[in-house]
Symmetry: C2
Subunit: 783 residues, 2 copies
């Protein structure tokens, strides 16, 4: 019987295999990792011997006993290999815990290792809170500087200045120590026009000074400090190296320039930059703990927590921050990180609250103590706001990306300072006369009290006009502002636009309800003594809708909004608006603003939200393609140092598959270019026997005759990855994409019936996706 023969045949092979893998029992080995690797390699190699019928081998040690430094690290603008880094960390962890019994010091080391993650996120949280507090105080002082100065204590802002002289009420004018510029310049307060003009001019002047300072500092000291930083942080967290992006200079310059830019009155916020600042803290503190500092994959756990802390201090929303990190920025988010992120976010919020920069007990910027209920009929305007948010989001993303692309490709990109100054001047000149544009906080909170009388009088009409003008102005200027070379967040301007739109609809609804008080729709709303409609709630809902439309955030957005305002009972209106905004926005384009900027910059970001729905298979994507030169491979035991160096010179691949031999193209392992190059040059320097003619062995067993006759062999088993991830050429691309996303691969090898056919890298996949979308595949710039 054929089957029997087959089974017997397999049995014999497997018996051989089993005989040589005498150590392959399941019980946990107490041996060291080195021994384990040796046993493993022995097993593997014996089996190869069996198959290849080669005889007479000698088991030498590796040429490089200690790996030269630098192996396991990454070059700038390269993609990391999560599986390898996580595995490196486990080996490190095992080595520490193995020596646990040895000494007291070792025990302390184990405990330190176990706790270092918590300590690190605690430090990051505290530092983030402190930075946020300093930035808040600084911004407030600089913003007030545009209006006047506290003569005796110039480092006080207006509010503190008035407190210092014990003025019990904080009134606009009744503060004896605060000198407005018009007052200082001798213009009498009675000359309304003169005083106004002085104020106007000083406002514009200070704005220009702040903006110039900000853009110059960024240009000179830290070019990475500009923008919101979230697209880059998303890319970094997805496993990409951008050296210096989270460094100390970026941190300092971004913090300072953020204050300057916000104080300049530009249409930007400090929420996105705060996430960047927090991530810088995360990066810097991670170097205190080698576990995180020296392992790029582990470092990203700290960075995820730091991002949560950033949002936490930006909005006083620790839970929202964690969800933001989970939903929007993070890529690899195990549950342990969830818990640590929460801890980090809470620590940051707690520290910020201790500094109490807003002068009240609430953590939040826009605390709204609305107690009014909302009614089902109000869902209609809320959904209208959602539609507005979705459409605006789509328009904004398209407009902003087009403008940024124009900036990149035209001469405009060469004059960033001029651009910033022009935008600042336009913003300052147009914004000052309109109370709704010069101070965004008022849009969300104060104005509630303006319309309690709710009669259509000239006040309401004028306010509506001002709101409409502010809306148009904000919408236009924000498109041009986001992307200029100063730190610039998008949250606050987006929310401000939504809040203005919301307030307009809210006032409209109020007028409608007031004039149709007896209509059955409004009867219930106006039944008790209070006002029929709360326009502030509409502002909140509108802010949520536009922010949702722009960033395509979902759960985290709703949670941030209700943490921001303290209104747990408004979760349904917020949700309705956010969902409508997302659905409407997705109908235009599924990409959020951050993803659009990632794509604009050509970062290798494999979005985990997008579904891959095409019918291609691995064979379609893998390299080499038909028109390309064949795949560069190394053989395990027949190439010389010279040959390998030639291959490395002639190609720029980041790694090379190692196969059994030219005749038998079965995959043995994978070696990274960087490791190989470091190892060869290190061996050439330190070992005299290694010459150009030395044969390179990626195996553990070198045939005896080679050693006796020729030059000393170079053994590089240690740098060979013997477990590269492989797929068959028939694997559907959706599975391949899933594997890249979930396992954090850098590349995978494609085989057919065991034979090596080609390779697929992350870049290949991104190019493939871009091509399927009819986009330019060359827009993916990095590896």
């Amino acid at each position: 019987m054929e089957t029997d023969t087959l089974i017997e045949d397999m049995a014999s092979v497997q018996a051989h295999y089993r005989a040589v893998s005498a150590n392959g029992t399941v019980s946990e080995r107490s041996s060291t990792d080195e021994e384990m690797l040796d046993i493993a390699t022995d097993t593997r190699f014996e089996y190869t011997d069996l198959a290849d019928k080669s005889h007479g081998s000698t088991n030498l040690m590796d040429t490089l006993d200690d790996l030269p430094p630098g192996i396991g690290q990454y070059d700038d603008f390269h993609t990391i290999d999560w599986l390898r880094d996580i595995s490196r960390d486990r080996i490190r962890h095992r080595q520490i815990s193995k020596r646990k019994q040895d000494s007291c010091f070792a025990k302390v080391k184990v405990a330190h290792d176990a706790w270092s993650g918590w300590v690190c996120v605690l430090l990051v949280g505290c530092a983030t809170g402190a930075f946020a507090a300093v930035i808040d105080v600084g911004t407030s002082w600089m913003s007030d500087l545009k209006e006047g100065i506290c003569l005796e204590q110039f480092w006080f802002n207006r509010e503190q200045c008035c407190w210092a002289v014990n003025d019990t009420t904080f009134d606009q004018n009744a503060c004896s120590q605060w000198y407005s510029w018009s007052h200082l310049f001798g213009v009498s307060e009675s000359s309304v026009f003169g005083s106004y003009m002085i104020k106007y001019i000083m406002y514009v002047l200070w704005a220009m000074v702040f903006a110039t300072l900000a853009v110059m500092l960024v240009r000179v000291f830290a070019p990475y400090a500009c923008g919101s930083g979230i697209p880059e942080i998303k890319t970094i967290l997805s496993g990409f190296i951008i050296r210096g992006y989270l460094g100390k200079w970026t941190l300092i310059i971004k913090s300072v320039c953020m204050m300057l830019a916000v104080s300049a009155g530009l249409s930007l916020g400090k929420e996105g930059p705060l996430v960047h600042v927090a991530s810088c803290c995360g990066n810097i503190f991670s170097y205190l703990f080698p576990k995180y500092g020296k392992n790029e994959a582990k470092k990203r756990e700290i960075l995820s927590a730091a991002a949560a802390a950033g949002v936490s201090v930006a909005f006083g929303a620790p839970i929202g921050g964690v969800l933001f990190s989970l939903e929007e920025v993070s890529y690899y988010f195990p549950l342990k990180t969830l818990w640590r992120s929460f801890f980090c976010a809470l620590a940051a919020a707690f520290v910020l609250r201790s500094f109490n920069p807003f002068g009240n007990d609430h953590l939040v910027m826009f605390y709204v103590d609305y107690r009014n209920a909302w009614y089902l009929v109000e869902l209609i305007p809320f959904i209208v706001l959602g539609v507005f948010g979705g459409i605006w989001g789509a328009v904004f993303i398209k407009g902003n990306i087009r403008w940024c692309r124009y900036r990149k490709s035209s001469n405009l990109g060469k004059f960033p300072i001029t651009e910033v100054l022009v935008v600042t001047a336009v913003t300052a000149i147009l914004a000052f006369p309109n109370p709704y544009t010069s101070d965004y906080q008022r849009n969300l909170t104060d104005a509630t009290t303006d319309f309690t009388s709710a009669n259509i009088d000239s006040g309401v009409t004028r306010a509506m006009w001002q709101l409409a003008l502010a809306l148009v102005f904000k919408m236009v200027i924000t498109v041009f502002t986001f992307g200029i070379k100063v730190p610039a967040g998008l949250f606050i301007p987006s929310m401000a636009i939504g809040a203005i739109a919301g307030r307009m609809i809210g006032i409209g609804m109020e007028q409608l309800a007031y004039s149709h008080r007896e209509h059955y729709l409004f009867k219930e709303m106006c039944h008790s003594g209070h006002t029929c409609v709360t326009p502030g709630l509409y502002a909140m809902v509108g802010a949520c809708a536009t922010l949702g439309g722009v960033t395509k955030m979902t759960v985290s957005l709703v949670v941030i909004m209700f943490e921001l305002t303290g209104g747990l009972q408004y979760i349904v209106p917020l949700m309705a608006a956010a969902m409508t905004a997302k659905w409407i926005g997705d109908a235009f384009d599924k990409e959020g603003i951050y993803d659009a900027h990632i794509k604009l910059n050509g970062y290798p970001f494999l979005d985990s939200k997008e579904e891959f729905t095409h019918t291609t298979i691995a064979a379609d994507v893998m390299r080499p393609k038909r028109t390309e030169p064949p795949l560069c491979v190394l053989t395990q035991d027949s190439m010389t140092v010279e040959q390998i160096e030639a291959i490395m010179r002639e190609t720029d691949h980041n790694g090379f598959p190692v196969i059994v031999s030219a005749e038998s193209q079965y995959l043995v392992g994978f070696v990274l270019r960087r490791d190989l190059s470091i190892a060869i040059s290190s061996a050439r320097t330190n070992h005299d026997g290694i010459v150009s003619n030395s044969v390179v062995y990626f195996t553990n067993h070198v045939p005896v005759n080679t050693v006796v006759g020729g030059p000393e062999p170079l053994k590089l088993r240690k740098i060979l990855d013997m477990a590269p991830v492989t797929i068959t050429d028939q694997t559907p691309m959706e599975t391949v994409v899933e594997m890249f996303r979930k396992l954090g691969l850098r590349q995978t090898l494609v085989t057919h019936n065991g034979r090596l056919l080609g390779i697929i890298t992350k870049k290949d996949i991104l190019r493939h996706i871009a091509q399927l979308k009819n986009q330019d595949p060359d827009s993916i710039l990095f590896n």
Copy 2:
């Protein structure tokens, strides 16, 4: 030069390959999936031809044009293959969207397909809310039935009864329509002892009746309805089939018996069972949408959302519910599911609120409107509560698991009804005299007002005694209650224990602060007019700590607690207690109660929280082992129907690898036993030409001479998975475990240099992990 030869050689092979894969361009194919598969198979086969040098083949259609029904489904108690299911769904999705242009009906179908997920979770949310409302109302009615009855409208509970007769105040005794049993039985209210005894007896009697009913219903109609259900739901969500566990009978019986069990006064809650009820709704509604009902992996997205809705209605905590689903129960939780879960949870909470079962505007059971601040010094008792929670959690898990194991292995398991009755009787008899055990709601809310005077008088001393007794009683009885054969949740009893402990510490702190009012530690606390300490806050923190210790929940727990009580400002105390409880608990054992029960039942659950830290490699774990018979494989084109049937008869493997030939053991693909068996029997029935001697071809090309000479060949290409996941034998097990978890694999094939060596299934991994922990590997029961 050797390298050149190699490169040339590779080039020639690849040129061949490229020549035959003429269609392998990257551009998206407009061809159908069928065509795509054909091209793909052609490519693959041509390449095999090239390698195997076989000539003269004819391209016939598959024997089975339409796959017989049942292929792609799973047997009961089997593990699903996520990758395969997700890929099946994408094929289905592409088939629908391809026909989008054809007709208006097709367009509707596409829209329906896109929206069905949202519609489904909306229905699930509404149904869950409705079930929760019915259960709440029913429980309240039955609980009151133990005390008395509303004679005129017997279907009213006490509160409604009093409302019905327009008694404006809801006082204990001033309700004319409500008749207590002692009153009905003619015992005059003046005879205090007689009235008390009647109450006592009726209480115990009704409890016994309810418990008997509950256990009988469960026994007779739905054995799966007992317990909390969360361990099983976790297992199901991790990709396991338990038929009927989420069926309609389980839903109905669980809902009814939950009311009975809670009303019986047993030390159990309805929170866990509500998650089960919600999941049943999810399962039932998913059958309305074939996209979800017929695809086990997609169905689990709905079930994840349903679990969130369950917690949402249990605690009125939609965000906590989503986080609970994410952190505790779900396995595969893409961001789309996060958003849908939130929607589902919110819909459920909204429907429940519309029914308004608690008679007030709050969604929550234990709404606490504390406005008092907490002070830093209070963190010490909070951390003490955390320590208590952690220790109690560890003790409870150990005790409960030991008791459950004893029940399983001894005769006790044969008398579930007796056990329930004994536990009920003991609970009822001991609980009735103590006000702190008979009504758990009071523990969390009412008692705040009891001690405002805060003098050590006999009232406080008596309350402390009663609390201590209640604590001991609750702790002991809960260990024996969780696991009896009625629906039984663990949240409420755990929280009650913590709340009692917290209240005791709170009262202690209050006395301490009151008697040392002038001490510098307490000075700040007692400065204003209000009470120094809020014992209710301690109860809340204690509840959080014990629940954390028992379930090992973290972020979701804190969020549930603050949504439950509405106290956003108490997030730091809650967090401190929860973290301490988790750390202390983890020092004993990292397993939560649900994981412990999963292990007790031997379910194949691969915990994504546990880290695999051992040094074993794939070769150590794979089957066959040395002592075992060789791996069962099929060849792609040389085995007869008879031979395959023999192999299937003699082995019970769930799938078979297909290799090139007995001589060339390179992997071609993988075929599932179930599919193979269905296909062969279907072919034997429907095709007369298929006889025992027919050769089975897993390829598309059948050599001509075979067709001419012998019996009709059986072509089974369609059921072959040509892209099985493979790993090398050197792959570290931590990577393998990671792949199983993240990709949701059912098995992976182990190769060495392309040759098939063995197979690793999920069960093998679980057995391996159990072995490494020195546990019995045979405790893993299912595949």
